[in-house]
Symmetry: C2
Subunit: 599 residues, 2 copies
């Protein structure tokens, strides 16, 4: 299998046409990163992803990370690649310049992050978790904690983790039992066992900064009694150097379906005299903080979906160009043809490609809104963008990851029998992708969040504003009097109607018959994602048509391909919207009527 090649052309298109960087780079604090700078960053990132991370992806899968005598050994090449990653400044790309970061807009760093994920998602998880820790500290850490930890986390010299799950507390974090007892010196001592801790132990950096959910002895029951603590693997000395080993250790690593190189640790806190920790923010508000930072992590998992979709597509396309099998049906040729010439293989490749492009576009639009929500001078504009971002987070997370699983599975199918052989590499993408719909909140949890907090709570106001934008795009498509654009317009219209019906149902029914809405929550999320993807692909088609009308901008093949990709999405993906809406609106009765003992 060839190494990953960053899709620079499509990313450039995104920054020019879909989520214009212009609108972001004029914002306070984003001024330095204009299109030229962004493209230079993407090019360098592409080199690192393709040249350093991608070659380690298979070996990482084969070797995995191993636990021996309490120490975790990452696969061959991992430590060196991480050092290069840190030395190249990649860890600090989107971080606050105050602590050594480069303050690159999220719009640009998201595209870079997609590359890490595409090249080697097991590797990319490490800096992804570090960013989560940084966010939590930036949000609520004391000045002292910030000073002690943020510079090292920003550079990547130290890495971070999110320590939430316990055996009885998965989706339901209110059940967390890990205890934290305050000490006379103001620190806490933690005791408890945590599971599923990504990069909870490893050998790529000299220290690990755990952000841990735990309960103080007098905390109230449930979600309102959970606090957030910072617990470093090594307690730093006053001079910032690594000090004494803390009382936290890795008990075991999970044997997983995929992401073998990413060590998923069981961590024991306080087996001896308690793990030393510092409170982040106020007591009993840990879950609240965690949910704020989790939004960023959920977005990042969505980018894993985009990256894995792209990578699986590239591998399948390469194979389809090279593999000769059969003659071209429907022609007179007797020559063996590359399977790319077979209509069904083209269909599979376009499924993979068009959905990946749609996911990238939706993620980029969301990233641009994140930048606006953070930095725009107009408060009303910030609030609107923030509402849009919050609406879209479950879509970027869940819709992109569900799609990535499908796409990776299609990638195997394109390879035929070879796809089932591990050496080919196509199967790894499915195994790796399969976790993305589970962690950082299962996609079912994302759907609950979507129908409840994001749609019903504001009576559909935010999503209806999006629907209005979709209708405006549809009107633009129709104005063009172009066959492909008209075909896309018709599908988009059906999609918008279907989504609107479903929104109306969710808003009307959420308070009167919650359980009915919840049966349709995942179909609703899929519906919204599907239509949102169609909206962005329709915008892409309009842009492509305009560029082609103006001579093709030096690259007509790209714009023609984009146009067909958008049309394919409309006819093969967006077309599902009507059925999904019917499921949302009238699919609940059976699931609620069946008794437990009738299963």
């Amino acid at each position: 299998m060839k190494d990953y090649v960053a899709p620079l052309r499509d990313m450039q298109f995104v920054l020019r046409e879909i989520a214009p960087l212009d609108e972001v780079s004029n914002l306070p604090g984003c001024g330095d990163v204009n299109l030229e700078v962004a493209e230079a960053i993407l090019k360098e990132a592409g080199k690192f992803a393709g040249g350093v991370l991608s070659p380690l992806n298979r070996v990482g899968d084969r070797e995995g990370s191993k636990l021996k005598d309490g120490e975790v050994k990452t696969p061959a090449g991992w430590r060196d690649a991480y050092r290069q990653f840190v030395d190249g400044g990649w860890n600090a790309l989107s971080c606050d310049p105050h602590y050594g970061g480069q303050g690159v807009p999220r719009l640009v760093s998201a595209l870079v992050e997609e590359m890490w994920n595409a090249a080697n998602v097991s590797f990319a998880l490490c800096p992804m978790l570090t960013r989560g820790a940084i966010e939590a500290l930036e949000l609520k850490g004391s000045e002292e904690l910030k000073k002690a930890f943020l510079p090292k986390l920003t550079s990547g010299e130290w890495t971070g983790t999110m320590v939430l799950t316990e055996p009885q507390a998965g989706s339901d974090l209110s059940a967390v039992r890990t205890r934290a007892v305050k000490q006379p010196d103001g620190t806490y001592r933690l005791e408890g066992q945590k599971i599923f801790i990504t990069y909870g132990e490893h050998d790529v950096a000299e220290n690990i900064v755990h952000l841990v959910l735990a309960r103080t002895p007098d905390a109230p029951e449930g979600v309102k009694g959970i606090s957030l603590f910072l617990v470093p693997k090594f307690v730093p000395n006053a001079d910032g150097s690594v000090g004494a080993r803390n009382d936290v250790r890795c008990v075991s690593l999970e044997h997983k379906l995929g992401i073998h190189a990413s060590p998923t640790a069981v961590l024991a806190f306080g087996d001896k005299d308690g793990a030393v920790g510092w409170l982040v923010g106020e007591e009993n508000r840990g879950l609240e903080y965690m949910f704020i930072t989790m939004n960023a992590a959920r977005y990042s998992v969505g980018l894993e979906g985009v990256g894995l979709g792209e990578r699986a597509y590239q591998a399948a396309l390469d194979y389809a160009k090279e593999r000769l099998q059969g003659t071209e049906l429907g022609t007179k040729s007797k020559e063996k043809a590359p399977i790319l010439r077979h209509p069904d293989v083209r269909r599979m490749l376009l499924q993979m490609r068009s959905r990946t492009e749609a996911m990238r576009a939706v993620a980029a639009v969301t990233a641009a809104a994140t930048d606006v929500a953070r930095a725009h001078p107009d408060a009303a504009r910030r609030a609107r963008s923030q509402a849009f971002v919050e609406l879209m987070i479950p879509i970027v997370k869940a819709w992109s990851t569900d799609a990535a699983i499908d796409i990776a599975s299609l990638g195997i199918q394109v390879h035929g029998g070879a796809g089932f052989i591990e050496e080919t590499g196509a199967a790894q993408f499915l195994r790796d992708a399969r976790i993305t719909s589970i962690y950082e909140g299962t996609n079912g949890i994302q759907a609950l969040d979507l129908v409840g907090r994001k749609v019903a709570r504001d009576q559909g106001e935010t999503i209806r504003a999006v629907l209005a934008e979709m209708r405006a795009v549809e009107a633009e498509l129709e104005k063009e009097k172009d066959e492909a654009l008209s075909a896309i317009a018709a599908r988009l219209r059906d999609g918008v109607v279907a989504l609107e019906q479903a929104v109306q149902y969710v808003v009307a029914t959420y308070t009167t018959d919650l359980r009915k809405v919840l049966v349709g929550a995942v179909p609703f999320l899929e519906l919204f994602g599907t239509v949102a993807g169609g909206w962005q692909m329709a915008r892409a088609a309009l842009a492509a048509r305009r560029r082609l009308a103006a001579g093709g901008d030096g690259d007509p093949a790209f714009y023609k391909g984009k146009l067909q990709s958008a049309r394919f999405y409309a006819d093969h993906v967006l077309v599902r919207a009507g059925g999904l809406a019917r499921t949302v609106v009238s699919g609940a009765d059976s699931a609620l009527a069946i008794a437990d003992d009738e299963f």
Copy 2:
């Protein structure tokens, strides 16, 4: 994970209501197997599947089959289980009594086969391939070959293989290069390398009978120059005992995503002085014979889909009943609830269950027609049934296996984080299922077969007869004036309309614009499978409603559950039909318009 429990209740329902055994057991040669006998067979098979095969499924996955010094060692317990399988007479269940078989109708043996697949698909592949060899020999073997090989293959003392694929000849078998040269004594000597040979080498039986596609030196090019040969691992002595080792050896085993215990061999024929083989049937007609027997194998792979769907469902349901997480949303309870109480988990479980039941019903109806096509005294009835079977084979194969992949993936999702951990066992079902859409003809090949040979060739006559049966069921549903049945009727009506549109398009366009039809071939197959499943679930709902009206037949929970399962299928699965039809009818342009260099 609990061991597999055969779904005897649903299988009984199938034999009574969906594909009535009465109509089969009256046929010549099927008389002994009435409902009572069939249920006794199923009960015993269920014990063997749950008690012997299921406990070996995880160990088989973990250990895999290993090649050492040319010998393949199957996992611990495999040899003993196979011996028990043979001693119990299970291998001979559906075979011709003339050679020691028990002549059980396909309708019954198919349900038994589903159990083997559910319990341990890696194990089940061995007898599945043996049956393929038996079929080929029964069809075209000389009396001498039959006498020498059929008794041992029937009992299972010897096993069989299908030796088709070569590195350059996968879906396109016309590219086979293995050579067979006739010897003065009438035997042939074979030379060549074959790949992807399931159970091509193993230690569970004393001999292996390979059925090999190869070319004689003067054979014409392409598909019409391929002959079928029988090449045993050990050449039998005149007295039937195992004789000299033949010149065929296992060069390597593939390292696969799933079915680890099933040895997938690279076989070298004739490295020394040529492997001794016997011609089966006439020279140059091997592919023709192989395609006849392949129909049975394709049907069997469909049963792998059904079995894996059932197994994944059982595992997910068990977990959902036991795993406590969160409280029941939409109620006032503060108790931690089993996740089965969460609406989205119910949705996932009903997706798994209703699709598996639909697949089982469609497979059973096809099996019953197979029996009728073989044994009915009326030639016209036989021909009609044969046409129906041929129409349905690609559905049973491809629709069931695509669904099984989805279902197994949903099973992981129900398990949450635990689903991604290999020890849980849920991930194995996805890994194992992933091959089923590839081997015995990829699902893309099935779709080609469906739109071409099965729909366009007879101008849609056979499928339109099925559509008429569907409409009759819809009319019956409407007559009942029952809310659930009316809801199902409405979905079925939409499904039938959608399928009819698609059939019309395929028939009209196949000769005029083949490549357009081919882009939509897989969506067409999915559409037909989806509607066929809806048709059978609608019949199931009618039967369940009647039983409930008559007092519930001692088991009202079963019939109520069935009714909800059918309704769920209609609202969550069948509802996709309209979108699929639109894709079939108008989704081809983009895939054909995009140039190769625009990918």
